[in-house]
Symmetry: C2
Subunit: 231 residues, 2 copies
């Protein structure tokens, strides 16, 4: 199960985000004293839609999915977050409760910083506030970019786009282990599980990718790019 660990203070944290770069010693101590780090196993839930927002969430290592749970039993995955992402997104500043759930698709380490501490840092240190805003803006912009891009593509295009995302932005390799199931991939790009599988098989038959269980190898990057663009 998940485990709270006591790390050295944030000053020495190798995963310290740029936003905490310019804090002074006193401020960093305040952050250190009002945070906890939790190690999660793959599959564990970080927060559930409807939970009270109390912390600023920072993904140190691992991979998580941020998703809406609808009462129709068809979750919608909003985004897969990478290390150094702010996984509470912007919501934490206007919502009482989380409008989405977060769970781990790989073992992950997540820092929970007391939200009141973040608020007080912004209040007293405008420079911090500004940097914070910029970083928030960037994360948000990336997710928007992706969603809008996806929504104008057909199924083949969406699959191609997502495989390229994984390859280029997350694993930085032409071969990688799909961190999510076919079902989750379907939830991420808004299609059915059957069609995800069908199209992956198609790509395999066309020798655009290789598939071995969860392991995907991109064999013909060009063609994948073409499908991405014209799908």
């Amino acid at each position: 199960m998940s485990e709270v660990i006591q790390t050295a203070d944030c000053l020495d944290c190798p995963y310290r985000s740029l936003i905490f770069e310019n804090l002074n010693a006193e401020q960093l101590i305040r952050v250190t004293e009002n945070r906890k780090e939790i190690l999660y196993k793959k599959g564990e839930v970080v927060c559930k839609q409807g939970d009270r927002v109390q912390s600023f969430l920072y993904l140190k290592t691992g991979l998580v999915k941020i998703f809406k749970e609808n009462n129709d039993n068809k979750p919608q995955i909003i985004s897969i977050a990478k290390p150094k992402d702010f996984i509470g997104l912007l919501s934490i500043f206007s919502q009482e409760v989380y409008p989405f759930s977060i769970s781990c698709i790989e073992d992950s380490a997540i820092c929970f910083v007391d939200l009141d501490v973040i608020r007080s840092l912004i209040r007293e240190d405008g420079e911090f506030g500004l940097v914070f805003l910029e970083k928030m803006s960037e994360v948000s912009e990336n997710i928007w970019q992706s969603r809008l891009e996806l929504s104008k593509k057909n199924l083949r295009g969406r699959i191609a786009y997502t495989l390229l995302e994984f390859s280029q932005n997350i694993f930085d390799d032409l071969q990688f282990d799909l961190p999510i199931s076919r079902k989750e991939l379907a939830e991420l790009i808004d299609m059915t599980t059957e069609n995800v599988i069908r199209i992956l098989s198609e790509f395999r038959k066309d020798e655009i990718i290789g598939i071995s269980g969860k392991t995907i190898t991109i064999l013909d990057n060009n063609r994948l790019e073409q499908i991405n663009l014209h799908g």
Copy 2:
């Protein structure tokens, strides 16, 4: 054509946003001196995708559409913004240039506040920064909510959703003039113009709505809600 007007200072602005509520006199003067207000006619362009971001944009009155221009000649409307919305969205803090265009779908008055002034206000006045962040968060959250809601519905559901949005959130009336063309409605909810028209006609035949040119009258709100929910 569009017209720059010299209004009284922001202190007296009846449309002053809550975010400027707690500024002191000196700060408000700085805002006043580094802003301009422009009156646009329906159809005029406020900013184009790719323009350099230099101002914080605030919609005082009117209605604008925020949209992506793709090279395939199929614009995607991201959102219709109402008075008091921050129409540059979060992008202004991480993007050099606008990732979208904005144009007016009704005559509109828009304030351009020099972005450097906003930045300096955040730097020097943390409370302002925090309120600003909260408001940004709220606007962003609403758009997300809408897009995710839409993306899980079928065409009838999307039309129903949008009509209810207009009725309830924008015009606060069961009868209203559609501020956008059928074509734009299609771009907003990601379908073809033909199908927008077809489904509106269907709703008319079923006596769920009345249509007379741009004027829509919701005759059976209940049924529309049902279609929205189950579509």
